[in-house]
């Protein structure tokens, strides 16, 4: 039953999505790839689309995956499932348990969860960057063009703060990457 799977899958994501949008991406990858809902490639495209459209990234990803697998009903269920845990937890915390989060055992658990999320995000980032260039997983050959684009984008990301006095925004980085993709893969 795809609708139930969507609901449960994204409920799991919603329960464990600590560390903001980028903390949730590895979880969503896990769920989406293990059910075989999307390919790694489509998911990566959707991360870029979610980053460039309004709204929280994990809500956007849930809506997209839900819609691609279960139409409108799927989109509604996946979106509700991903926000339901945080909705309920905030209600509980503000209404009843204002001190629950200060409990020393809860704090001890959170001290373990947060660095773990950082490690998972780091590994996912490394894997995705390398996976674009090297023959990991399904890719057959070393991709020289991808290496060039990676290096150019990396250098741009490092130089930008010096030239413009602020960080290269995600949307600008995606735009530059799109232009480089059109040039190199033409």
């Amino acid at each position: 039953m795809i609708l139930l799977d969507l609901f449960l899958g994204f409920l799991k994501v919603g329960c464990f999505a600590f560390g903001g949008a980028y903390g949730a991406i590895p979880l969503i990858r896990d769920v989406v790839l293990s059910y075989g809902w999307l390919t790694d490639e489509t998911l990566t495209y959707m991360i870029a689309v979610s980053e460039s459209t309004p709204g929280p990234i994990m809500v956007n990803l849930a809506t997209y995956v839900g819609s691609s697998q279960g139409g409108f009903a799927g989109a509604v269920l996946a979106t509700l499932a991903v926000v339901l845990p945080s909705f309920l937890i905030i209600l509980l915390v503000t209404a009843l348990l204002q001190t629950a989060l200060k409990n020393k055992y809860v704090q001890a658990i959170l001290r373990g969860l947060k660095p773990c999320v950082i490690g998972i995000v780091l590994a996912t980032g490394i894997y995705m960057v390398l996976g674009n260039i090297l023959p990991l997983g399904k890719k057959e050959a070393f991709d020289l063009r991808a290496l060039c684009i990676t290096l150019l984008l990396g250098v741009l990301g490092l130089l930008w703060p010096r030239l413009r006095k602020k960080k290269l925004s995600p949307i600008l980085r995606i735009l530059f990457a799109a232009v480089l993709g059109m040039i190199f893969y033409a």
Partner: protein, 195 residues
């Protein structure tokens, strides 16, 4: 004090915030602060600070946490529902529309090539996010060890397609941290009043 119009007001205000903030996360906090603290005076600046701290210790998008909290403060459960729905409605509609056209869109060669480049940017964005998180992390031995072990394990899971989910990894890390805390607590409690 609180009029009947509070529900539509909550819904529309959060829809506006949801529609005009890109990239999610901390970009939204500034918008929410401006709308809910400065203009509408629904919550105080201190409450806003408080909720961002709570958001860091609870799962889910920080913008949703803020919306739920503000809605609840104004009009209880129904208010929380109105604000949260307002927050997700715009992105839901936008993404739903995109999902209907994305496949056709990707069949155009030049767009497909652009997305091959964009794929690379996404990897770098995630790596960048990880570096920012590492910089803000507690510089103590336990969190660092957990971070490095998790990173190595997660990389192995990805590379060798091990059947071990990131959620199991998180639960293991939580268990390790809790165990270390209880052992330290017990040895610190010896002699004194152990709890």
């Amino acid at each position: 004090m609180k009029s009947k119009h509070i529900l539509p007001d909550l819904l529309l205000t959060f829809m506006k915030i949801g529609f005009f903030t890109f990239g999610g996360g901390y970009a939204m906090i500034a918008m929410i602060e401006d709308a809910c603290v400065e203009k509408k005076k629904w919550i105080t600046h201190d409450e806003m600070m408080n909720i961002t701290v709570i958001a860091e210790s609870t799962p889910g998008p920080i913008a949703i946490n803020c919306a739920t909290f503000t809605g609840y403060k104004q009009a209880g459960f129904i208010g929380a529902l109105a604000a949260t729905l307002g927050m997700i409605l715009p992105s839901f509609l936008v993404i739903y529309l995109i999902s209907m056209f994305l496949d056709n869109f990707l069949e155009i060669t030049i767009i497909a090539n652009a997305f091959k480049g964009i794929r690379i940017a996404v990897g770098l964005l995630i790596l960048d996010a990880a570096c920012t998180m590492i910089r803000k992390m507690h510089k103590k031995i336990l969190p660092r060890t957990i971070m490095i072990c998790s990173a190595i394990l997660m990389l192995m899971i990805n590379l060798f397609a091990w059947n071990f989910s990131s959620i199991s990894l998180m639960l293991a890390a939580a268990a390790v941290s809790l165990t270390v805390f209880m052992i330290q607590n017990r040895s610190a409690g010896k002699g004194g009043n152990a709890q």
